[in-house]
Protein backbone atom coordinates (compact mmCIF):
# COMPACT_ATOMS: atom_id res chain seq x y z
CA UNK A 1 0.00 0.00 0.00
CA UNK A 2 1.37 3.38 -0.94
CA UNK A 3 1.84 6.29 1.39
CA UNK A 4 -0.99 8.20 -0.24
CA UNK A 5 -3.42 5.33 0.27
CA UNK A 6 -2.70 5.23 3.97
CA UNK A 7 -3.68 8.86 4.20
CA UNK A 8 -0.31 9.83 5.64
CA UNK A 9 0.09 12.71 3.26
CA UNK A 10 -3.40 13.99 3.87
CA UNK A 11 -3.29 16.94 6.20
CA UNK A 12 -5.89 19.41 7.38
CA UNK A 13 -3.45 22.25 7.57
CA UNK A 14 -0.16 23.26 6.06
CA UNK A 15 1.46 24.19 9.34
CA UNK A 16 3.28 22.24 12.00
CA UNK A 17 2.71 22.70 15.71
CA UNK A 18 5.94 22.83 17.63
CA UNK A 19 6.16 22.76 21.40
CA UNK A 20 8.98 24.72 22.99
CA UNK A 21 9.56 24.41 26.71
CA UNK A 22 8.79 24.40 29.56
CA UNK A 23 12.10 22.57 30.05
CA UNK A 24 14.06 24.32 27.35
CA UNK A 25 17.41 25.92 28.26
CA UNK A 26 16.74 29.03 26.20
CA UNK A 27 13.41 29.90 27.77
CA UNK A 28 15.20 31.06 30.94
CA UNK A 29 13.08 29.12 33.36
CA UNK A 30 9.83 27.28 32.87
CA UNK A 31 8.28 29.24 30.05
CA UNK A 32 6.40 27.31 27.40
CA UNK A 33 5.47 28.58 23.98
CA UNK A 34 3.49 26.68 21.38
CA UNK A 35 4.66 27.66 17.92
CA UNK A 36 2.61 27.22 14.79
CA UNK A 37 5.24 26.82 12.10
CA UNK A 38 4.97 27.35 8.36
CA UNK A 39 8.25 25.80 7.28
CA UNK A 40 10.85 27.70 9.24
CA UNK A 41 8.66 30.74 9.80
CA UNK A 42 6.62 31.19 12.96
CA UNK A 43 2.97 31.93 12.14
CA UNK A 44 1.61 32.22 15.66
CA UNK A 45 3.17 31.85 19.08
CA UNK A 46 0.98 31.04 22.04
CA UNK A 47 2.57 31.47 25.47
CA UNK A 48 1.80 29.23 28.41
CA UNK A 49 2.83 30.24 31.91
CA UNK A 50 2.14 29.19 35.47
CA UNK A 51 4.66 26.39 35.94
CA UNK A 52 6.46 28.28 38.68
CA UNK A 53 3.39 29.61 40.47
CA UNK A 54 4.14 29.67 44.19
CA UNK A 55 1.28 31.80 45.45
CA UNK A 56 3.52 34.50 46.89
CA UNK A 57 0.77 37.11 46.69
CA UNK A 58 -1.61 34.92 48.67
CA UNK A 59 1.10 34.05 51.20
CA UNK A 60 1.90 37.75 51.62
CA UNK A 61 -1.68 38.38 52.73
CA UNK A 62 -1.03 36.13 55.72
CA UNK A 63 2.38 37.36 56.78
CA UNK A 64 3.55 40.50 58.52
CA UNK A 65 5.04 43.27 56.45
CA UNK A 66 8.60 42.46 57.53
CA UNK A 67 8.13 38.81 56.64
CA UNK A 68 7.12 39.64 53.07
CA UNK A 69 10.55 41.13 52.27
CA UNK A 70 12.42 37.78 51.94
CA UNK A 71 9.66 36.56 49.62
CA UNK A 72 10.08 39.58 47.36
CA UNK A 73 13.69 38.45 46.83
CA UNK A 74 12.40 35.26 45.26
CA UNK A 75 10.18 37.02 42.72
CA UNK A 76 12.79 38.52 40.45
CA UNK A 77 15.69 36.44 41.66
CA UNK A 78 18.24 38.23 39.52
CA UNK A 79 17.47 41.66 40.97
CA UNK A 80 16.40 41.11 44.61
CA UNK A 81 17.28 44.59 46.00
CA UNK A 82 15.00 46.20 43.42
CA UNK A 83 12.05 44.16 44.66
CA UNK A 84 12.93 44.86 48.31
CA UNK A 85 13.09 48.55 47.52
CA UNK A 86 9.75 48.58 45.70
CA UNK A 87 8.03 46.86 48.63
CA UNK A 88 9.70 49.02 51.27
CA UNK A 89 9.02 52.31 49.45
CA UNK A 90 5.33 51.48 49.16
CA UNK A 91 5.04 50.49 52.82
CA UNK A 92 6.97 53.58 53.87
CA UNK A 93 4.64 55.75 51.81
CA UNK A 94 1.68 54.31 53.72
CA UNK A 95 3.51 54.71 57.03
CA UNK A 96 4.71 58.19 56.17
CA UNK A 97 8.22 57.68 57.54
CA UNK A 98 11.25 59.66 56.44
CA UNK A 99 14.32 57.70 55.38
CA UNK A 100 17.77 59.02 56.39
CA UNK A 101 20.04 60.17 53.57
CA UNK A 102 22.68 57.54 54.25
CA UNK A 103 20.10 54.75 53.96
CA UNK A 104 18.86 56.17 50.66
CA UNK A 105 22.36 56.27 49.21
CA UNK A 106 23.12 52.73 50.42
CA UNK A 107 19.88 51.59 48.77
CA UNK A 108 20.87 53.21 45.49
CA UNK A 109 24.31 51.58 45.57
CA UNK A 110 22.78 48.17 46.26
CA UNK A 111 20.16 48.51 43.52
CA UNK A 112 22.65 49.66 40.91
CA UNK A 113 25.10 46.87 41.78
CA UNK A 114 22.28 44.42 41.38
CA UNK A 115 21.23 46.00 38.08
CA UNK A 116 24.76 45.40 36.79
CA UNK A 117 24.69 41.81 38.07
CA UNK A 118 21.31 41.21 36.45
CA UNK A 119 22.42 42.66 33.13
CA UNK A 120 25.55 40.50 33.28
CA UNK A 121 23.42 37.38 33.68
CA UNK A 122 21.26 38.58 30.82
CA UNK A 123 24.22 39.33 28.54
CA UNK A 124 25.92 36.02 29.28
CA UNK A 125 22.87 33.82 28.78
CA UNK A 126 21.54 35.81 25.83
CA UNK A 127 24.86 35.54 24.02
CA UNK A 128 25.04 31.85 24.92
CA UNK A 129 21.58 31.30 23.42
CA UNK A 130 22.67 32.86 20.15
CA UNK A 131 25.94 30.92 20.18
CA UNK A 132 28.61 33.19 21.67
CA UNK A 133 29.98 31.06 24.46
CA UNK A 134 32.92 33.19 25.63
CA UNK A 135 30.88 36.17 26.76
CA UNK A 136 29.05 33.94 29.20
CA UNK A 137 32.26 33.03 31.00
CA UNK A 138 33.44 36.64 31.11
CA UNK A 139 30.12 37.91 32.45
CA UNK A 140 30.05 35.30 35.19
CA UNK A 141 33.54 36.36 36.26
CA UNK A 142 32.40 39.94 36.95
CA UNK A 143 29.07 38.89 38.43
CA UNK A 144 30.93 36.77 40.96
CA UNK A 145 32.55 39.93 42.31
CA UNK A 146 29.17 41.55 42.88
CA UNK A 147 27.90 38.41 44.61
CA UNK A 148 30.95 38.52 46.89
CA UNK A 149 30.10 42.12 47.72
CA UNK A 150 26.54 41.04 48.51
CA UNK A 151 27.90 38.39 50.81
CA UNK A 152 30.05 40.90 52.61
CA UNK A 153 27.21 43.31 53.33
CA UNK A 154 24.31 40.93 53.95
CA UNK A 155 25.77 37.47 54.47
CA UNK A 156 23.90 36.11 51.46
CA UNK A 157 25.07 36.01 47.88
CA UNK A 158 21.81 36.40 46.02
CA UNK A 159 18.70 36.77 48.20
CA UNK A 160 20.10 39.62 50.22
CA UNK A 161 16.96 41.12 51.85
CA UNK A 162 19.28 44.02 52.58
CA UNK A 163 16.73 46.80 52.13
CA UNK A 164 14.26 46.91 55.02
CA UNK A 165 11.29 49.02 55.96
CA UNK A 166 12.74 52.22 57.42
CA UNK A 167 16.26 51.88 56.03
CA UNK A 168 18.70 49.07 55.38
CA UNK A 169 19.63 45.97 57.37
CA UNK A 170 23.05 47.14 58.53
CA UNK A 171 25.53 49.89 57.98
CA UNK A 172 28.10 49.78 55.20
CA UNK A 173 31.32 48.06 56.18
CA UNK A 174 34.80 49.16 55.24
CA UNK A 175 35.62 46.03 53.14
CA UNK A 176 32.35 46.46 51.26
CA UNK A 177 33.02 50.08 50.37
CA UNK A 178 36.61 49.26 49.41
CA UNK A 179 35.38 46.34 47.33
CA UNK A 180 32.94 48.55 45.44
CA UNK A 181 35.67 51.16 44.85
CA UNK A 182 37.86 48.45 43.36
CA UNK A 183 34.99 47.10 41.29
CA UNK A 184 34.02 50.41 39.70
CA UNK A 185 37.63 51.02 38.75
CA UNK A 186 37.93 47.55 37.24
CA UNK A 187 34.54 47.27 35.54
CA UNK A 188 34.56 49.81 32.61
CA UNK A 189 37.39 48.00 30.83
CA UNK A 190 35.40 44.78 31.11
CA UNK A 191 32.31 46.32 29.50
CA UNK A 192 34.53 47.41 26.61
CA UNK A 193 35.75 43.83 26.43
CA UNK A 194 32.19 42.46 26.04
CA UNK A 195 31.54 45.05 23.37
CA UNK A 196 34.72 44.07 21.54
CA UNK A 197 33.46 40.52 21.46
CA UNK A 198 29.97 41.33 20.23
CA UNK A 199 29.12 44.80 18.97
CA UNK A 200 30.96 44.57 15.66
CA UNK A 201 30.95 40.82 15.39
CA UNK A 202 29.36 40.01 11.97
CA UNK A 203 27.69 36.83 13.26
CA UNK A 204 26.18 38.71 16.19
CA UNK A 205 24.97 41.48 13.87
CA UNK A 206 23.40 38.97 11.48
CA UNK A 207 21.50 37.36 14.30
CA UNK A 208 20.33 40.53 16.02
CA UNK A 209 20.00 43.49 13.66
CA UNK A 210 16.45 44.02 12.44
CA UNK A 211 15.20 40.90 14.23
CA UNK A 212 12.22 41.13 16.55
CA UNK A 213 11.67 44.83 15.93
CA UNK A 214 8.92 46.78 17.68
CA UNK A 215 8.04 50.36 16.83
CA UNK A 216 7.58 53.05 19.47
CA UNK A 217 3.77 52.79 19.31
CA UNK A 218 3.79 48.99 19.52
CA UNK A 219 6.16 48.97 22.49
CA UNK A 220 3.96 51.42 24.41
CA UNK A 221 0.74 49.68 23.46
CA UNK A 222 2.03 46.26 24.57
CA UNK A 223 3.15 47.74 27.93
CA UNK A 224 6.83 47.03 27.52
CA UNK A 225 9.01 48.66 30.12
CA UNK A 226 12.63 49.17 30.97
CA UNK A 227 15.35 48.54 28.37
CA UNK A 228 12.90 46.92 25.91
CA UNK A 229 10.83 50.13 25.86
CA UNK A 230 13.85 52.42 25.62
CA UNK A 231 15.30 50.44 22.70
CA UNK A 232 12.13 51.35 20.78
CA UNK A 233 12.74 55.07 21.14
CA UNK A 234 10.68 55.82 24.24
CA UNK A 235 12.47 58.00 26.76
CA UNK A 236 10.85 56.54 29.87
CA UNK A 237 12.92 55.75 32.91
CA UNK A 238 11.18 55.94 36.29
CA UNK A 239 14.45 57.02 37.90
CA UNK A 240 14.03 60.23 35.87
CA UNK A 241 10.25 60.41 35.37
CA UNK A 242 9.20 59.86 39.00
CA UNK A 243 12.43 59.97 41.01
CA UNK A 244 12.53 57.89 44.18
CA UNK A 245 15.20 57.38 46.87
CA UNK A 246 17.80 59.97 45.87
CA UNK A 247 18.19 59.34 42.14
CA UNK A 248 17.52 62.99 41.38
CA UNK A 249 20.87 63.85 43.03
CA UNK A 250 22.89 61.94 40.47
CA UNK A 251 23.90 62.86 37.00
CA UNK A 252 23.35 59.99 34.57
CA UNK A 253 22.05 59.44 31.04
CA UNK A 254 19.16 57.26 29.96
CA UNK A 255 20.22 55.43 26.81
CA UNK A 256 17.45 55.55 24.18
CA UNK A 257 17.71 53.93 20.75
CA UNK A 258 15.20 53.82 17.92
CA UNK A 259 15.23 50.54 16.03
CA UNK A 260 13.61 48.40 18.73
CA UNK A 261 15.33 45.22 17.55
CA UNK A 262 17.42 42.71 19.50
CA UNK A 263 20.60 44.61 18.73
CA UNK A 264 19.28 47.88 20.15
CA UNK A 265 18.02 46.18 23.28
CA UNK A 266 21.52 44.77 23.67
CA UNK A 267 23.13 48.18 23.24
CA UNK A 268 20.72 49.84 25.68
CA UNK A 269 21.54 47.32 28.40
CA UNK A 270 25.28 47.52 27.85
CA UNK A 271 25.13 51.30 28.10
CA UNK A 272 22.97 51.00 31.23
CA UNK A 273 25.72 49.01 32.89
CA UNK A 274 28.09 51.96 32.31
CA UNK A 275 25.52 54.42 33.64
CA UNK A 276 24.89 52.28 36.73
CA UNK A 277 28.60 52.30 37.38
CA UNK A 278 28.56 56.10 37.09
CA UNK A 279 25.71 56.31 39.62
CA UNK A 280 27.56 54.05 42.07
CA UNK A 281 30.67 56.20 41.71
CA UNK A 282 28.76 59.40 42.50
CA UNK A 283 26.90 57.73 45.35
CA UNK A 284 30.13 56.52 46.95
CA UNK A 285 31.68 59.97 46.68
CA UNK A 286 28.69 61.63 48.31
CA UNK A 287 27.91 58.94 50.90
CA UNK A 288 26.74 61.01 53.91
CA UNK A 289 27.40 60.15 57.52
CA UNK A 290 24.44 59.46 59.76
CA UNK A 291 21.99 56.73 60.73
CA UNK A 292 21.36 53.88 58.29
CA UNK A 293 17.73 53.43 59.35
CA UNK A 294 14.97 55.65 60.56
CA UNK A 295 15.12 56.62 64.27
CA UNK A 296 11.34 56.04 64.46
CA UNK A 297 11.14 53.08 66.84
CA UNK A 298 7.62 52.21 65.73
CA UNK A 299 9.18 51.10 62.43
CA UNK A 300 12.75 50.03 63.10
CA UNK A 301 14.27 48.30 66.11
CA UNK A 302 16.00 50.54 68.68
CA UNK A 303 19.79 50.09 68.99
CA UNK A 304 20.70 46.95 70.88
CA UNK A 305 22.73 48.69 73.62
CA UNK A 306 19.78 50.92 74.65
CA UNK A 307 17.69 47.89 75.65
CA UNK A 308 19.55 47.56 78.95
CA UNK A 309 19.11 51.17 79.97
CA UNK A 310 15.88 52.44 78.42
CA UNK A 311 12.45 51.08 79.35
CA UNK A 312 10.91 52.72 76.29
CA UNK A 313 13.40 51.06 73.96
CA UNK A 314 12.62 47.69 75.55
CA UNK A 315 8.89 48.18 75.01
CA UNK A 316 9.41 49.23 71.39
CA UNK A 317 11.67 46.25 70.83
CA UNK A 318 9.14 43.87 72.36
CA UNK A 319 6.22 45.32 70.40
CA UNK A 320 8.08 45.30 67.10
CA UNK A 321 9.31 41.74 67.50
CA UNK A 322 6.05 40.28 68.82
CA UNK A 323 3.54 42.32 66.84
CA UNK A 324 5.36 43.84 63.91
CA UNK A 325 4.73 47.11 62.13
CA UNK A 326 1.11 48.27 61.98
CA UNK A 327 0.39 50.20 58.80
CA UNK A 328 -2.44 52.78 58.60
CA UNK A 329 -5.48 52.05 56.43
CA UNK A 330 -4.92 52.93 52.80
CA UNK A 331 -3.78 51.76 49.39
CA UNK A 332 -0.86 52.94 47.37
CA UNK A 333 1.62 52.11 44.67
CA UNK A 334 5.20 53.26 44.10
CA UNK A 335 6.88 52.23 40.85
CA UNK A 336 10.64 51.88 40.60
CA UNK A 337 12.95 51.13 37.70
CA UNK A 338 14.13 47.56 38.15
CA UNK A 339 16.61 45.81 35.91
CA UNK A 340 13.81 44.63 33.60
CA UNK A 341 11.54 47.63 33.81
CA UNK A 342 8.84 49.02 36.02
CA UNK A 343 8.58 47.09 39.28
CA UNK A 344 6.09 48.08 41.93
CA UNK A 345 3.93 46.69 44.66
CA UNK A 346 0.32 47.73 45.03
CA UNK A 347 -0.40 47.38 48.74
CA UNK A 348 -3.79 47.62 50.42
CA UNK A 349 -3.63 47.96 54.19
CA UNK A 350 -6.54 47.38 56.55
CA UNK A 351 -4.74 48.94 59.51
CA UNK A 352 -3.32 45.70 60.92
CA UNK A 353 0.20 44.30 60.92
CA UNK A 354 -0.61 42.08 57.91
CA UNK A 355 -1.16 43.50 54.40
CA UNK A 356 -4.66 42.98 53.00
CA UNK A 357 -3.43 42.77 49.42
CA UNK A 358 -0.01 42.71 47.82
CA UNK A 359 0.22 42.80 44.05
CA UNK A 360 3.46 42.86 42.11
CA UNK A 361 3.64 44.68 38.83
CA UNK A 362 6.16 42.47 37.08
CA UNK A 363 7.80 43.77 33.91
CA UNK A 364 8.44 40.26 32.55
CA UNK A 365 4.81 39.26 33.01
CA UNK A 366 3.56 42.35 31.17
CA UNK A 367 6.04 41.82 28.31
CA UNK A 368 5.14 38.20 27.51
CA UNK A 369 2.13 38.78 25.16
CA UNK A 370 4.07 41.44 23.26
CA UNK A 371 7.10 39.18 23.06
CA UNK A 372 5.00 36.42 21.48
CA UNK A 373 3.49 38.94 19.07
CA UNK A 374 7.06 39.86 18.12
CA UNK A 375 7.85 36.24 17.25
CA UNK A 376 5.21 36.09 14.53
CA UNK A 377 6.84 36.13 11.13
CA UNK A 378 10.30 35.40 12.50
CA UNK A 379 12.43 32.38 11.80
CA UNK A 380 12.45 29.68 14.44
CA UNK A 381 16.13 30.30 15.13
CA UNK A 382 15.28 33.87 16.16
CA UNK A 383 12.76 32.80 18.78
CA UNK A 384 15.46 32.16 21.38
CA UNK A 385 17.04 35.50 20.52
CA UNK A 386 13.76 37.32 21.07
CA UNK A 387 13.07 35.58 24.39
CA UNK A 388 16.60 36.38 25.52
CA UNK A 389 16.43 40.01 24.45
CA UNK A 390 13.28 40.72 26.48
CA UNK A 391 15.03 39.17 29.51
CA UNK A 392 12.16 37.43 31.23
CA UNK A 393 12.47 35.98 34.72
CA UNK A 394 9.86 33.34 35.41
CA UNK A 395 9.95 33.90 39.15
CA UNK A 396 8.15 37.20 38.74
CA UNK A 397 5.96 36.06 35.85
CA UNK A 398 4.28 33.24 37.78
CA UNK A 399 4.76 34.65 41.28
Amino acid sequence: MSVTDQGLLHRDKDTMTLNMGPQHPSTHGVFRVILEMDGEVVKTAEPEIGYLHTGIEKTSENKRYVHVIPMTDRLDYLNPPGNNLAFCLTTEKLLGVEIPDRANVLRVIMCELSRIASHLVWLGTHALDIGAMTVFLYCWREREMILDLNEEISGVRMMTSYIRIGGVAKDATRPWLDGIRDFIEYFPAKVDEYERLLTKNPIWLDRTEGVGAFTREEAINWSFSGPALRASGVNWDIRKAQPYSCYDNYDFDVPVLNNGDIFDRYRVRVEEMRQSRAIIKQALESLPEGPYKTPDNKVSLPPRETLHTSMEALIHHFKLVSEGISVPVGETYVPIEGARGEVGFYIVSDGTNVPARVKLRAPSFMAIPGMCKMMEGCYIADVVGIIGSIDIVMGEVDR
Partner: protein, 176 residues
Amino acid sequence: MTSEEIIEKVKAGLADAIQDTDLPQGDAVIFVAPDSWHAVADFLKNDADLKFDYFSDVRGVDYLLEEREPRFESVYQLYSIDHQHSIRVRVGIDEDNPSVPTVSDLWKGALYPEQELFDMFGINVEGHPTMERLIMPKGWEGFPLRKDYPLTTETVTFSYNRDFKSDLVKSKPPTR
Protein backbone atom coordinates in the same frame (compact mmCIF):
# COMPACT_ATOMS: atom_id res chain seq x y z
CA MET B 1 0.10 68.05 35.04
CA THR B 2 -0.12 67.77 38.78
CA SER B 3 -2.54 65.34 40.40
CA GLU B 4 -4.99 68.14 41.23
CA GLU B 5 -5.03 69.35 37.63
CA ILE B 6 -5.56 65.80 36.33
CA ILE B 7 -8.56 65.36 38.62
CA GLU B 8 -10.00 68.75 37.61
CA LYS B 9 -9.55 67.91 33.95
CA VAL B 10 -11.15 64.47 34.29
CA LYS B 11 -14.05 65.92 36.27
CA ALA B 12 -14.61 68.58 33.62
CA GLY B 13 -14.52 66.05 30.80
CA LEU B 14 -16.65 63.31 32.37
CA ALA B 15 -18.72 64.83 35.12
CA ASP B 16 -21.42 62.16 35.33
CA ALA B 17 -19.17 59.09 34.96
CA ILE B 18 -16.86 59.90 37.89
CA GLN B 19 -18.26 58.67 41.19
CA ASP B 20 -15.61 60.15 43.43
CA THR B 21 -12.03 61.40 43.46
CA ASP B 22 -9.25 61.17 46.00
CA LEU B 23 -5.68 62.34 46.51
CA PRO B 24 -4.05 59.80 48.85
CA GLN B 25 -0.38 60.74 49.42
CA GLY B 26 -0.55 63.00 46.38
CA ASP B 27 -1.65 60.38 43.80
CA ALA B 28 -4.57 61.14 41.51
CA VAL B 29 -7.29 58.52 42.10
CA ILE B 30 -10.74 58.40 40.50
CA PHE B 31 -13.64 56.05 41.23
CA VAL B 32 -15.66 54.75 38.29
CA ALA B 33 -18.59 52.33 37.91
CA PRO B 34 -18.02 49.27 35.71
CA ASP B 35 -20.68 50.41 33.21
CA SER B 36 -18.91 53.65 32.40
CA TRP B 37 -15.33 52.35 32.70
CA HIS B 38 -14.76 51.76 29.00
CA ALA B 39 -15.95 55.25 28.06
CA VAL B 40 -13.75 56.76 30.78
CA ALA B 41 -10.75 54.74 29.56
CA ASP B 42 -11.36 55.92 26.02
CA PHE B 43 -11.42 59.55 27.20
CA LEU B 44 -8.29 59.12 29.32
CA LYS B 45 -6.37 57.66 26.43
CA ASN B 46 -7.47 59.98 23.64
CA ASP B 47 -7.79 63.37 25.34
CA ALA B 48 -4.87 65.50 24.14
CA ASP B 49 -4.05 67.00 27.57
CA LEU B 50 -4.28 63.73 29.50
CA LYS B 51 -3.08 61.21 26.88
CA PHE B 52 -2.70 58.19 29.13
CA ASP B 53 -1.11 56.01 26.48
CA TYR B 54 0.70 53.55 28.75
CA PHE B 55 -1.14 50.83 30.63
CA SER B 56 0.89 49.89 33.67
CA ASP B 57 -1.19 47.33 35.52
CA VAL B 58 -4.56 46.23 36.83
CA ARG B 59 -4.99 44.55 40.20
CA GLY B 60 -7.99 42.95 41.79
CA VAL B 61 -8.78 43.56 45.43
CA ASP B 62 -11.26 41.65 47.58
CA TYR B 63 -12.76 43.75 50.39
CA LEU B 64 -14.70 40.85 51.96
CA LEU B 65 -13.15 41.25 55.42
CA GLU B 66 -13.83 44.99 55.48
CA GLU B 67 -17.45 44.20 54.51
CA ARG B 68 -17.33 46.96 51.97
CA GLU B 69 -19.89 47.42 49.21
CA PRO B 70 -19.14 46.57 46.42
CA ARG B 71 -16.97 43.66 47.44
CA PHE B 72 -14.43 43.60 44.59
CA GLU B 73 -12.41 46.31 43.06
CA SER B 74 -10.15 46.38 40.03
CA VAL B 75 -7.54 49.10 40.20
CA TYR B 76 -5.93 50.40 37.00
CA GLN B 77 -2.66 52.28 36.82
CA LEU B 78 -2.11 54.46 33.75
CA TYR B 79 0.77 56.69 32.66
CA SER B 80 1.28 59.27 30.03
CA ILE B 81 4.73 58.90 28.51
CA ASP B 82 4.66 62.37 26.89
CA HIS B 83 3.27 64.31 29.84
CA GLN B 84 4.93 62.12 32.50
CA HIS B 85 1.94 61.93 34.82
CA SER B 86 -0.07 59.03 36.19
CA ILE B 87 -3.55 58.20 37.41
CA ARG B 88 -5.14 55.37 39.34
CA VAL B 89 -8.68 54.28 38.50
CA ARG B 90 -10.65 52.22 41.01
CA VAL B 91 -13.62 50.33 39.62
CA GLY B 92 -15.93 48.81 42.23
CA ILE B 93 -17.41 45.47 41.19
CA ASP B 94 -20.47 43.78 42.70
CA GLU B 95 -20.24 40.41 44.38
CA ASP B 96 -22.98 38.64 42.41
CA ASN B 97 -22.06 38.21 38.80
CA PRO B 98 -18.80 40.20 39.01
CA SER B 99 -17.86 41.65 35.65
CA VAL B 100 -16.03 44.60 34.18
CA PRO B 101 -15.54 45.64 30.54
CA THR B 102 -12.20 44.98 28.92
CA VAL B 103 -9.84 47.78 27.91
CA SER B 104 -7.54 45.48 25.96
CA ASP B 105 -8.89 47.02 22.75
CA LEU B 106 -7.34 50.34 23.85
CA TRP B 107 -4.13 49.03 25.40
CA LYS B 108 -2.89 45.62 24.24
CA GLY B 109 -0.85 45.37 27.42
CA ALA B 110 -4.07 44.86 29.38
CA LEU B 111 -4.60 41.39 27.87
CA TYR B 112 -2.54 39.43 30.40
CA PRO B 113 -3.34 41.23 33.65
CA GLU B 114 -7.06 41.18 32.81
CA GLN B 115 -6.88 37.46 32.27
CA GLU B 116 -5.15 37.17 35.63
CA LEU B 117 -8.01 39.16 37.15
CA PHE B 118 -10.36 36.40 36.05
CA ASP B 119 -7.96 33.66 37.09
CA MET B 120 -7.40 34.93 40.62
CA PHE B 121 -10.70 36.68 41.47
CA GLY B 122 -13.29 35.23 39.11
CA ILE B 123 -14.09 38.66 37.75
CA ASN B 124 -15.47 38.21 34.27
CA VAL B 125 -13.81 40.65 31.87
CA GLU B 126 -16.41 41.29 29.15
CA GLY B 127 -15.08 41.37 25.63
CA HIS B 128 -11.70 39.84 26.51
CA PRO B 129 -10.65 37.37 23.79
CA THR B 130 -9.38 34.60 26.12
CA MET B 131 -11.36 34.38 29.35
CA GLU B 132 -9.70 31.28 30.73
CA ARG B 133 -7.16 30.23 33.36
CA LEU B 134 -3.76 31.86 32.98
CA ILE B 135 -1.54 30.99 35.92
CA MET B 136 -3.61 28.31 37.65
CA PRO B 137 -3.99 24.98 35.82
CA LYS B 138 -6.91 24.52 33.44
CA GLY B 139 -9.81 23.05 35.36
CA TRP B 140 -8.80 24.52 38.71
CA GLU B 141 -11.70 25.15 41.02
CA GLY B 142 -12.12 28.37 42.94
CA PHE B 143 -10.39 31.72 42.72
CA PRO B 144 -7.27 31.73 44.90
CA LEU B 145 -6.93 35.39 45.79
CA ARG B 146 -10.49 35.79 47.05
CA LYS B 147 -10.54 36.24 50.79
CA ASP B 148 -12.93 33.30 51.32
CA TYR B 149 -10.53 30.95 49.54
CA PRO B 150 -8.78 29.08 52.37
CA LEU B 151 -5.03 29.16 52.76
CA THR B 152 -4.34 25.43 52.66
CA THR B 153 -1.76 23.14 51.27
CA GLU B 154 -2.50 21.35 48.05
CA THR B 155 -3.40 17.68 48.46
CA VAL B 156 -0.35 15.57 47.73
CA THR B 157 -0.92 12.73 45.31
CA PHE B 158 2.48 11.17 45.67
CA SER B 159 5.11 11.29 48.40
CA TYR B 160 8.40 9.62 49.13
CA ASN B 161 7.55 9.68 52.81
CA ARG B 162 6.21 6.23 53.83
CA ASP B 163 4.73 7.52 57.06
CA PHE B 164 2.91 10.25 55.25
CA LYS B 165 -0.28 11.08 57.07
CA SER B 166 -3.04 13.10 55.55
CA ASP B 167 -3.22 15.13 58.79
CA LEU B 168 -0.10 16.92 57.67
CA VAL B 169 -1.87 18.66 54.88
CA LYS B 170 -4.94 19.64 56.86
CA SER B 171 -5.82 23.27 56.63
CA LYS B 172 -4.60 25.69 59.22
CA PRO B 173 -6.36 29.01 59.66
CA PRO B 174 -4.13 31.95 58.85
CA THR B 175 -2.53 33.53 61.89
CA ARG B 176 -2.78 37.24 62.31
